[in-house]
């Protein structure tokens, strides 16, 4: 699971800016055959707003711990090691 879809790279707009979030969602769904209904797009905006605060916490925790740059493979290795270590706690 190394690759992240290219269209999700970059800074997510402010979670209080509905119009910008809608544009972000449309960009993400851009390659979809037949597009998406506006209702579907609005639902995805709501999902981003719902998840946003907890995810900002993850970003902040990563910054303070210096782990924000870990890629998927490095994260997996670190996690697998933690699983083994925690089995002995």
């Amino acid at each position: 699971m190394e690759a992240i879809p290219a269209f999700t790279a970059g800074a997510l707009p402010s979670l209080s800016d509905d119009d910008a979030l809608l544009a972000w969602v449309r960009q993400g769904l851009g390659g979809r055959v037949g597009g998406a209904s506006e209702r579907e797009e609005r639902r995805l905006v709501q999902l981003l707003v719902r998840l946003g605060p907890a995810l900002q916490e993850a970003l902040a925790a990563g910054s303070s711990a210096g782990t924000e740059c870990l890629d998927a493979a490095a994260s997996k290795t670190t996690f697998d090691t933690a699983l083994t270590q925690c089995s002995h706690d």
Binding site: T8, R32, L44, L48, L55, A58, L59, E68
Partner: protein, 448 residues
């Protein structure tokens, strides 16, 4: 239909005593598959018997198992709930199925599942609707729906499923059997169709803790802590010495809360609290990984709109979730695991939680668009599940009470990583107290 002993271990005993040969035992089990499938609709297809079925050897010789249709089998690719699969020359058994075969077990049937392992109810418009053997209107649970039905109905002594956000534990809870989500990485996923690889684990469903222990010993890819099989690994812990903590949230419905408090009262040394503040946040981080990885795994089908609404609900958000969020929640996993273990599983060996937030609902209550649909009841099926996958911990679900309709109310129990067998040891102790020799299914009262 020929009667069989209710548990795998009892069948093993009959075979060991020479009352049945393994081949005779398998013959009887195979004969039951069609009849039980006609009642409960849980079978996708039946694999051809292999030469090793003629004269099986190993601890599981003569034992018939049936598995979620998500595992590669010899010469056949799985349908993963999307279709019926297909003969595919060159396909090998998934490594976990190969381990079971080497232990002597036979593969009786490939089982129904939610499409692409997405969906807590087990609904799948592409397959016949599975029927919960306990009550025809009760939800079956998913995504390993056929696995729970096969075990609860007696079609198979055990079943493998997969669990990415509760897909083994939810149907185990709704069908009144034991469901074990193994520690992430304990069981090899080679040859198992992925949903979200960071969260995926093989799980198993069985009628008793001892039966589950037999299966776990066969499929585990590394030594277990506190194994119930002393010939294989370490000593079995005494359940009396286990230190237990329970979290019984205030948000549960009355029946479930009352049942859990009543159950914990029978373990007077256990600590009982009502709050686990990090659970909601961890659940959201798990959700992000699920959406992101599922959208990549099923990207082609998603973009061409070839999937059902349930798969879209799981995978579509992954197309719009920011990469930095995904990286952040991945990078935090190790630290969150260490913090969780330190907070809940250092001073205690077991952490008891609810399995479902509500009593087992009917299909109509958890099917969007149906009269009587209640979104909260749907969320209540998986609210306490996903965060466990994010942490990679082992978790077992089994019934400890019944609701007003006689349907099971289950608990979920967590332990430290690779302490899967400790969970089964305690499940066995609970089973001794609450159930007869037929194990957990005897606890509920079938209405079918």
């Amino acid at each position: 239909m020929t009667e069989l002993p209710p548990t795998l271990v009892q069948m093993q005993r009959l075979i060991a005593q020479g009352e049945l040969s393994p081949a005779e035992a398998l013959q009887v089990q195979r004969e039951r598959v069609a009849a039980l499938d006609a009642r409960f609709h849980c079978v996708v297809s039946v694999p051809q018997p292999t030469p090793s079925d003629e004269c099986p050897t190993g601890p599981l010789a003569g034992i018939g198992l049936a598995h979620k249709d998500i595992f590669d089998t010899e010469g056949h690719r799985p349908g993963i709930g999307h279709d019926a699969g297909a003969q595919t020359p060159g396909t090998r058994n998934a490594r976990v199925l190969e381990r079971l075969r080497q232990s002597g077990a036979a593969h009786l049937a490939r089982l129904v599942m939610a499409e692409y392992a997405c969906g807590a109810t087990g609904a799948n418009v592409r397959q016949r609707p599975c029927i919960n053997p306990l009550h025809p209107q009760a939800v079956v649970g998913g995504s390993s729906s056929g696995s729970a039905v096969a075990v609860a109905s007696g079609l198979a002594y055990g079943s493998l499923g997969t669990d990415t956000a509760g897909s083994v534990r939810i149907p185990a809870a709704t069908c009144g059997v034991l469901g074990l989500k193994t520690t992430h990485g304990l069981v090899d996923l080679d040859g198992v169709a992925p949903l979200a690889p960071a969260l995926d684990s093989v799980g198993l469903l069985a009628r008793t803790a001892a039966d589950a222990g037999q299966l776990l010993s066969a499929v585990a890819g590394r030594p277990l802590q506190g194994s119930p099989d002393p010939a294989r690994h370490r000593v079995r812990p005494s359940s009396a010495s286990l230190r237990i903590k329970a979290v019984i949230p205030n948000a549960l419905d009355d029946q479930v809360a009352q049942a859990l408090h009543g159950f914990m009262a029978t373990w007077p040394r256990a600590a009982v609290v009502c709050d686990m503040p990090e659970q909601a946040r961890l659940a959201q981080w798990a959700e992000v990984l699920l959406h992101a990885e599922a959208s990549q795994v099923h990207r082609g089908a998603l973009l061409s709109r070839e999937v059902s609404p349930m798969v879209e609900a799981v995978a579509l958000p992954g197309l719009v979730i920011a990469a930095e969020w995904v990286l952040a929640v991945r990078a935090q996993r190790a630290a969150q695991l260490r913090a969780f273990v330190a907070a809940h599983l250092r001073q205690y060996d077991l952490l008891v939680l609810p399995a479902l937030a509500h009593a087992v609902p009917d299909w109509s209550v958890v099917t969007p668009g149906a009269p009587g649909f209640d979104a909260q009841r749907l969320v209540g099926l998986y609210r306490y599940m996903g965060f466990v996958n994010y942490l990679g911990l082992p978790s077992v679900v089994f019934p400890v009470a019944v609701d007003r309709r006689g349907l099971p109310i289950a608990v979920q129990v967590l332990a430290r990583p690779f302490h899967d067998a400790v969970l089964l040891a305690w499940a066995a102790a609970v089973e001794d107290r609450l159930c007869g020799p037929a194990g957990f299914p005897s606890f509920s009262k079938p209405h079918v």
